[in-house]
Symmetry: C2
Subunit: 327 residues, 2 copies
């Protein structure tokens, strides 16, 4: 199927999805949110990494089995971070190609486990299947918890809100960051502690800044302006493990390439937040953490659309381009 076919299918599925009174937020957000009886809401997410789509096991950009496990778990964590919740328990379905080595399975498990330990949540169950027909895939289902009615959604951004982004954007797959990124759970926790209800909307940047900002604007019924010179770009450390020849290209890339990279590459797994402007100023002023938090623009009225402003003040439309695997 083509990407457009997928997109149409997903829309059709969402519209027809059976409901339950406890499900406060269903398909189409980073997580489903359940209003579980009691005083904590529940975030529920499923995510997968599939050989050939999200990683390869051969060639110069090959992932180690441990990285495959880490990526699978961290990707789901990133969605829990995007609603401002914290993970409690994961279950995992691994499908191995028949004839895979035990070392591969142990490596994948080590990566999954390392992420659970790092963020103090349980690996509560799983299933291993071995098949001749399929390659390696790892599906993670993750439960998170957070305050009643307190989940950050894609909708809710308001005109005048500051647009903040954690970390740095662009070049994630080219530089192998997509295999070893840290989900922004701790950053989300700090932001929630400091701002309370000051966060109006949030998304994790998986499809590129452009596409994910469009998601927020579409759901919130608003536009946005982003200042090119404010976007923090991801520059790989010289000693970072990365065998891709593209790394060399990246190091000497132009600002123009960096902008396009941030807008379109995807798999950054950073948080993009729309925050009440005064609260945003306080938050950034007091920010003392290793991972940067940067204001890159503002929310504006819907009729002004999504625009990028260059260093010389030139404005251009921000096209809704980005990574296609999750249209």
């Amino acid at each position: 199927m083509q990407a457009m076919g997928e997109l149409r299918l997903i829309k059709r599925f969402r519209a027809a999805a059976p409901r339950h009174p406890w499900v406060a937020v269903g398909p189409g957000q980073d997580c489903a949110i359940l209003n579980w009886p009691g005083d904590r809401d529940l975030a529920f997410k499923i995510d997968q990494v599939v050989e050939g789509t999200h990683f390869v096991l051969q060639g110069p950009e090959a992932a180690t089995p441990r990285q495959v496990g880490w990526k699978a778990m961290a990707k789901a964590c990133s969605d829990i971070a995007a609603v401002g919740f914290w993970p409690v328990a994961a279950t995992v379905a691994v499908n191995l190609r028949r004839g895979s080595s035990e070392k591969l399975a142990l490596g994948v498990y080590a990566g999954l486990q390392a992420c659970c330990v790092r963020y103090s949540f349980a690996l509560a169950g799983g299933d291993i299947s071995v098949s001749t027909k399929v390659g390696l895939s790892v599906v993670v289902s993750l439960l998170g918890e957070g305050p009643k009615g307190g989940a950050w959604l894609r909708k809710g951004a308001q005109c005048g809100d500051a647009l903040l982004v954690t970390g740095r954007l662009g070049g994630s797959r080219r530089n192998g960051k997509h295999l070893r990124f840290k989900p922004r759970l701790e950053e989300a926790r700090i932001i929630r502690q400091r701002l309370g209800a000051g966060v109006h909307a949030c998304i994790d940047v998986t499809d590129g800044l452009s596409r994910d900002l469009h998601h927020v604007c579409d759901e919130s019924g608003c536009g946005a302006v982003v200042f090119e010179d404010s976007i923090p770009y991801f520059i790989p450390r010289k000693n970072a493990t990365c065998t891709s020849a593209a790394l060399v290209e990246h190091a000497k890339c132009s600002k123009r390439t960096c902008v396009e990279s941030a807008l379109g590459d995807g798999e950054d797994f950073e948080l993009l937040l729309a925050v009440e402007p005064n609260a945003a100023e306080d938050l950034i002023r007091g920010w003392r953490h290793r991972v940067p938090l940067t204001r890159i623009g503002s929310i504006q009225p819907a009729h002004q659309g999504c625009v990028v402003v260059a260093g010389d003040g030139t404005r251009r439309a921000m096209h809704n381009v980005g990574y296609e695997h999750r249209p």
Copy 2:
């Protein structure tokens, strides 16, 4: 990898699985059980169906796409039924081979959706991936709810308990039942309503009566006796849609074959319960439902092992044989 390798891996993974204080029951049961703050416990399950392992799309035993979707969802429901809970919300990860038709995707979705609608729970989210490397796989993650501390586990069976089974056993894959079975959610609900704490242990029969009864006995530290003449066998309806040539064989199979089939075939998705004996008698006497509930034996002390008693009173050991895909 060989089945023994998988078994060793799974044991190793379980022993090392990271924990969380809310997770009351972790890996190794039909579901993880979470002691979520509030008055309802949470069952959390992941399960997968993979082309070539759990179904085929070509040949005389081919599943329709709708059956693949139904099986994936109903299989997870069966595990929720086994702990005596009810499903609330599912998320689904579907992986399609590149070039699959839209009809295939819609068919799988129709099957998933039909199961949600049938048992009144939500399809709360999902992910579709398209890959050149892999065949069709459907992973379902399911949340269920039930009374605080009330989950039925594999452990807990007591000497003298009656062994009850819902429905009929054996020949499920041969007759296509594994593609259209009904998870025993309604039966579990009735049993909970009628017995309260009278159910001491439960499991869903997926690996064959023999293997699953051994699971219960191992976890409960007991043995069991099963009367051959009491086992209800699955006899396919004459007009059941089944293209397998094996159906013909089944219809004329001997009692001996039926016994072996019930003990070893697997994928029955019936419930096997260890129930306080007086309560079991009352329950069966008052049972007025279409799906039969049959007493097939009793729990006995561990040193007496698991035995099968033939019609003529001959006793033999019940070997721990069964379907190997989930050792």
